[in-house]
């Protein structure tokens, strides 16, 4: 099968790979680039575990062809902590017990980050809506919603 060259930035650093034509971004990130933070829970766009941010927008990497990402800026949960300091969302998920088995967590955090990037002061309804594409089977959604609201509050305190 023909291989296609692609180039993009992942969490700010440049990456170049040859991928199979038709490969998903999820497989390219996990198997080629070695960023296993996006998870494959369904490979059919129904669970949200593979969520990443591409050029500022939340995307399901299992439904995104890798070859369409050339030149893109991709952000994953693996790149959120800066200099060993957790991002407010990571801190809040940790403190609020919003992650039990952890399989849904990187996708949840991406969906929450995409929300807070656009809507720094979300209502509870905004959070529920933003997480509606992400399935968690362990934690229960309440601690997750609370964690996102807590992170939003701590963000605005930092700005103030």
């Amino acid at each position: 099968m023909a291989k296609v060259p692609i180039q993009f930035t992942l969490n700010g650093s440049e990456k170049a790979e040859f991928v199979e034509s038709g490969a998903t971004l999820l497989n390219a990130l996990r198997d080629k680039v070695g960023d296993t933070s996006p998870k494959g829970g369904c490979h059919q766009g129904t669970c949200g575990a593979c969520s990443v941010i591409i050029d500022g927008e939340l995307r399901l990497s299992c439904l995104t062809l890798a070859e369409t990402c050339s030149g893109a800026a991709i952000i994953t949960t693996a790149g959120l902590a800066e200099g060993g300091v957790l991002h407010p969302l990571q801190r809040a998920f940790l403190d609020a017990f919003a992650s039990q088995c952890g399989f849904c967590t990187p996708g949840m955090i991406m969906a929450a980050k995409a929300l807070l990037d656009h809507t720094p002061d979300p209502s509870r309804e905004d959070v529920v809506e933003a997480l509606s594409g992400n399935i968690c089977r362990c934690t229960g959604y309440e601690p997750i919603i609370q964690a996102v609201l807590t992170a939003a509050r701590s963000n605005s305190q930092n700005v103030a």
Binding site: F93, D95, F103, I109
Partner: protein, 455 residues
């Protein structure tokens, strides 16, 4: 909620400095940074992908298997059938002497449920494995199938599993697990009312976000590392050792990180065949269920049927209880004989009843094999019992909570399976529930205690 210090004050240590305090999970930092390594996060150069050819029939004889077209498919490395598996017939609980071995790793001569694994295809890519699997030709002679437990128990029903020879698990007590306590017929004779009801449940899928699977890497010295999301590490290790006829010292299992299990990952299904594939090809192997397989192939909670007959007195005492429970194991035992047995011990519920008769059957049908799920053998029974309790209370015109106080088990009461009750707390829980739910009961019930009987 306030902890009521008066309960069990003499038997309780009050140095519970962890309870009520938030404690971060040890694995959370890995979860929130995406660093936690699940089995599928292990990747090896040259890794092969395993896909199963599965039975499209509920019950059929296999006349022949033709893999010649599939073998020619580009990227295919090896195809495995029943002949390749050293000890192909197994059962998980054989480790605790619950036999006979009744399930095949790869179907041999017969399939007993729709979705059963027949042929394993190994290829360079997942896609090649999937495409080649579609080219395997299996010639089936379809057999009559049975899906209903009571049908399966009737004489003349199609025989699901020849290793058992009948459509139920044969306990040492016979065709069912039995509990006999007091004289249930005498209890019914003296009762003011009799209520017989039946309750039924469907199979329930755990649907973990991470699907079942494993990644196996040969270590180059006839030893294999298996990264797995099993919930039953040592069961899996020992069963794999039996199936592959390999000493456990050759098997290196790495796990404990499970992306949601809920009991759905305690069966030994993916590891033996993936390790065998790695052994026969000398290459790393990945075998991961698709979401569709997780929903359709992995064991669900068993379907159950519970028939409860109770005799109750006007004053609220239950005089006799007779329960017949049916657990649908599907085509193979897995953990179901154990689940059905748990039900037998549990059916009187947390109530003291002087006359009890219980039969629980573990039944084989041509449905997806069922297995463990949170409280299996007990959860559906509890649903049935508590609905029955409400109905009984209504029948005699009594408050349903007060009705439970009257029948609640208390320390020293003999249970039907002849274990004396110790450390009961039902009365105290119900007192707390009565306050919390603002569901008042008469003062005499609020004065009761699990460990001190009123004179």
């Amino acid at each position: 909620m306030e902890l009521r210090k008066s309960y069990f004050a003499d038997v309780r240590k009050d140095d519970l400095h962890e309870i009520g305090q938030p404690r971060p999970r040890l694995d959370s930092p890995g979860h929130v940074t995406g660093k936690t390594a699940f089995f599928a996060d292990h990747n090896f150069p040259g890794m092969l992908h395993l896909k199963m050819v599965r039975s499209p029939h509920h019950h059929a004889r296999i006349r022949s298997i033709d893999t010649s077209e599939a073998e020619k498919h580009p990227g295919v490395v090896r195809i495995l059938t029943a002949r390749d598996v050293p000890h192909n017939v197994y059962t998980i609980l054989i480790l605790i002497q619950i036999g006979p071995e009744d399930e095949t790793v790869l179907a041999d001569g017969k399939v007993r449920w729709r979705g059963e694994a027949v042929v394993a295809v190994l290829a360079e890519t997942e896609r090649a494995a999937q495409e080649a699997a579609a080219k395997v030709k299996v010639d089936y002679e379809v057999l009559p199938a049975v899906f209903d437990m009571e049908e399966a128990l009737k004489p003349g029903a199609p025989l699901v599993n020849e290793y058992h020879g009948q459509n139920y698990y044969l306990y040492d007590s016979g065709e069912c697990r039995k509990v006999r306590f007091g004289d249930v017929e005498a209890g019914f004779a003296q009762a003011d009312h009799i209520l017989e009801q039946s309750y039924q449940s469907s199979p329930i899928e755990h649907a973990p976000t991470e699907t079942t699977g494993c990644v196996v890497a040969p270590e180059g010295n006839d030893r294999f590392t298996c990264y797995t999301n099993t919930q039953a590490m040592f069961f899996t290790l020992d069963n794999t050792s039996i199936i592959l006829q390999m000493p456990g010292s050759k098997l290196h299992f790495v796990g404990g990180t499970v992306g949601g299990g809920f009991g759905g990952k305690v069966d030994v299904i993916v590891e033996p065949i993936a390790i065998l594939a790695a052994k026969l090809t000398g290459r790393p192997v990945s075998f991961v269920y698709s979401r569709e397989e997780e929903m359709q192939i992995s064991s669900p909670r068993a379907a159950e049927k519970v028939v409860i007959k109770d005799g109750v007195m006007k004053d609220g005492r239950i005089a006799a209880r007779k329960v017949t429970g049916y657990t649908d194991a599907g085509a193979y035992s897995r953990h179901s004989p154990y689940g059905a047995q748990k039900g037998a011990g549990h059916y009187p519920g947390p109530y003291t009843i002087p006359n009890v008769w219980i039969d629980t059957y573990c039944v084989y049908t041509n449905r997806t094999p069922s297995s463990a799920m949170r409280g299996f053998g007990v959860t559906i029974g509890d649903f049935a019992l508590e609905v029955q309790m409400d109905k009984l209370a209504r029948l005699i015109g009594m408050d349903p909570l007060e009705f439970r106080f009257i029948n609640a088990y208390r320390d020293g009461d003999m249970k039907a399976h002849r274990q004396p009750t110790e450390g009961a707390a039902l009365i105290e829980c119900m007192q707390e529930a009565s306050r919390a739910a603002n569901w008042p009961v008469a003062e005499k019930y609020m004065a009761m205690s699990s460990y001190e009987k009123e004179a």
